[in-house]
């Protein structure tokens, strides 16, 4: 083997640096897991945040890394939700973890099949196609009411204990811990994947598909792959919803859900994986708080916050966090300095 050229060395180091954990990331996950003990009576809303975060992470994979804009991402969320609920209801796979993986895989199959439609056309076309797919699936779920319960929702689902040991309790404790662990594991996988050459090539595709093709990246194959993976993630998110509530309704496919998801990502920011997670926390907490404060007019306040967010810009609003980030960066440098 010949010596690496300096450029190649720098590129390799760059890739490694991207994969390295930032101190703030540790803080994020320590906080996330500590709420198990710190906020025991908020586990129900936290469970919702966990699956919404996973769902948003899924959209971030295609929007933030591959540049595919979708307004129908609820399609896969819904497939996962109904799959998990039906698997449990008919006793096909009763163990929740296995059922959740199965639900994700079923959503991935739908994702793979529909990804070829998403390859055609530019942003606006994709937007319409994704919207259409979600609408079609919603209508199918409505029509096959003997299987899905139609507009009444799928009733009479009972969930077995997780791993045969931990029951979904009424206080939502086990449900939350379960959702959080699933989110964490899938996040780790996504993080590893996006720091890999595959993830980097996706970014190249996002920036300039034509040029990527010219340097030998097979654009279509990569888009199909990431779209399928994202569908798996969304399906698992939907599965978590169905498992923790023992219920699934047509609403899982609704346009509102896809649109809300886009809002979550707009709040949190795209392309760095944490955007969906942070966005989900802010969106849900804000929604829950405002809806309790003013049950009739809370959508007004959410709208107002969003307008301000977009007009003022996220960076400017987050300026007060700069000292923290600077400190974290310094710590990071010191750690790196000692290592080398």
């Amino acid at each position: 083997m010949s010596e690496q050229t300096p450029t190649a060395k720098r590129a390799a180091q760059g890739i490694l640096a991207r994969a390295r954990w930032h101190p703030l990331e540790f803080v994020f996950w320590i906080v996330a897991f500590s709420v198990i003990w710190l906020l025991p009576n908020k586990h129900l809303i936290l469970t919702e945040i966990a699956w919404l975060a996973l769902f948003a992470l899924s959209l971030d994979l295609i929007l933030g890394y591959a540049g595919i804009l979708s307004l129908g991402h609820a399609a896969f969320f819904g497939v996962g939700s109904y799959a998990a609920a039906l698997l449990a209801k008919h006793g096909i796979i009763t163990e929740p973890v296995l059922a959740l993986i199965a639900a994700g895989l079923i959503a991935a199959v739908v994702g793979f099949a529909t990804s070829f439609l998403m390859l055609r056309g530019a942003d606006l076309t994709r937007l319409m196609v994704s919207l259409g797919i979600a609408l079609v699936l919603r209508e199918l779920a409505n029509k096959f009411s003997e299987l899905t319960g139609g507009a009444d929702g799928l009733q009479g689902v009972t969930m077995e204990p997780i791993l045969g040991r931990f029951r979904f309790d009424m206080f939502g404790h086990n449900g939350f811990i379960y959702s959080l662990v699933v989110l964490f594991v899938l996040f780790l996988i996504a993080r590893r994947l996006m720091a890999s050459p595959f993830g980097l090539s996706l970014l190249a595709v996002k920036d300039n598909p034509l040029r990527s093709r010219a340097i030998g990246i097979s654009v279509d194959a990569r888009l199909v792959a990431i779209y399928t993976i994202a569908a798996f993630y969304a399906g698992v998110g939907g599965g978590l919803l169905a498992q923790t509530t023992a219920f699934s309704s047509l609403d899982v496919f609704s346009f509102d859900r896809s649109a809300d998801l886009l809002l979550v990502l707009i709040i949190g920011g795209t392309g760095y994986l944490y955007g969906g997670l942070i966005g989900a926390v802010i969106f849900k907490v804000m929604q829950d708080y405002l809806a309790q404060l003013t049950p009739q007019y809370w959508p007004f306040w959410i709208g107002l916050v969003l307008v301000i967010l977009v007009m003022v810009g996220r960076d400017r609003m987050l300026r007060w966090t700069e000292p923290v980030r600077a400190l974290a960066n310094r710590l990071d440098w010191r750690a790196k300095g000692q290592a080398s």
Partner: protein, 388 residues
């Protein structure tokens, strides 16, 4: 920021102290309804009725303070479940009430059974809801009550051939089944049965199909709030001029929307348990007070909320303030009282409502459209449960 932290800490302290002092003397009622989204009109009716009841009767009963905690479902059933769960687990409510749609009521049923908390259904009308948990009680109505009586009346009043149009979900299926069964038993003929999607309804194609079948009447069930669209498209298609009558449960000529429906609805015959025009001193006062406080006319959903609060108050009086699920539900069974809709009671066996069903015709009174009652069927139990 520091100010805010201080403020938040202060609030939390105040909450803790207040919480401790209240715990013994407060009965909490969780009100889970849609204040936003597609079912918002029903939520607003119920909320206004609950407020009115508490304004009239005070917030103290049997030495306990009644506190209503309002939560908005945004018309999404899985939200209803989570909110009810939080109310039960965190707020320790004695009653979860509301539920304008069947899926929401059904989704909460397992919780009510597990936590032994009374689930008071103030609106949803599918017959089987009360069977899903032994702690469910209903103050609204069931669709078989209205539909079966509508069919009886139609068969006896020269309506021979009918097309049914119902919304495609559980209450619609209930309405359709009970209308058709009873109508056929009485020698009527069903030309066609049509199910319209629940979300974003466009009735025009269905109305056209109905018109082509040339029936004497169309039997219709749509959820509260969609009646106006249905009646508008019915006139646009000229079905009124073709002599095809509209009959149905009272949902389609909902009092809330009736004033805006226009003269085409005059003559529509429906069977239901409440009309704002109901002739009693109590109802006259109810309508006047409600309209004054809320700014709109009360509909059949509002009396579900009003009577629901009454049931909670009376049950608390009977238990002497004991608010656990078993005591409350025992006290509620067999309760009888006079409501703005007329005399009603809770069936001790099924925990479902027993009430008069009225035949009504839309007429103009003092320049306003009303459902004017012309025949009363007394003390109607839910037919779906008698059969068993």
């Amino acid at each position: 920021m520091r100010q805010f932290v201080k403020f938040a800490a202060g609030m939390a302290m105040a909450g803790l102290i207040a919480g401790g002092a209240y715990a013994q003397d407060t009965v909490k009622v969780g009100l889970v309804i849609s204040m936003t989204g597609s079912q918002a009109s029903t939520g607003k009716q119920i909320k206004a009725a609950v407020d009115l009841y508490m304004k009239e009767h005070g917030d103290t009963v049997a030495g306990k303070k009644v506190q209503v905690i309002l939560r908005d479902t945004g018309s999404v059933p899985d939200n209803a479940k989570r909110l009810a769960q939080e109310l039960i687990v965190n707020d320790k409510v004695s009653v979860v009430a509301g539920f304008e749609v069947t899926p929401a009521a059904m989704a909460v049923a397992p919780l009510s059974a597990e936590a032994k908390v009374v689930e008071l259904v103030m609106a949803a009308g599918t017959a089987s809801i009360t069977e899903k948990s032994p702690y469910i009680v209903r103050t609204s109505f069931t669709l078989p009550q209205s539909s079966a009586i509508m069919a009886d009346w139609a068969a006896n009043n020269n309506i021979k051939k009918v097309v049914t149009i119902v919304s495609d979900y559980a209450p619609g299926a209930d309405a359709e089944k009970w209308f058709i069964d009873t109508f056929k038993k009485n020698g009527g003929q069903i030309l066609e049965t049509i199910k319209a999607p629940l979300a974003n309804p466009d009735f025009a194609p269905f109305l056209q199909r109905a018109a082509d079948a040339k029936p004497d009447a169309i039997f219709v069930f749509v959820p509260s709030g969609q009646g106006a669209t249905f009646m508008k498209q019915y006139t646009e298609r000229g079905l009124d001029k073709a002599g095809i009558k509209v009959i149905g449960t009272g949902d389609v000529t909902d009092d809330d929307l009736l004033p805006q429906m226009g003269d085409a609805v005059i003559g529509a015959v429906t069977a239901h348990m409440y009309s704002a025009d109901h002739d009693s001193a109590m109802n006259k006062k109810y309508v006047a007070d409600f309209t004054k406080a809320a700014g709109f006319r009360p509909n059949f959903m509002s009396v579900g909320g009003y009577d629901g609060m009454h049931l909670i108050y009376e049950a608390l009086k009977k238990t002497g303030g004991k608010a656990d699920g078993d005591s409350l539900i025992a006290a509620m069974k067999g309760m009888k009282w006079e409501s703005p809709r007329g005399p009603i009671s809770i069936d001790p066996e099924t925990r479902d409502i027993v009430q008069n069903i009225y035949m009504r015709k839309v007429e103009k009174k003092g320049g306003q459209l009303y459902n004017v009652e012309f025949e009363t069927f007394k003390d109607v139990k839910d037919p779906a449960k008698i059969k068993k």
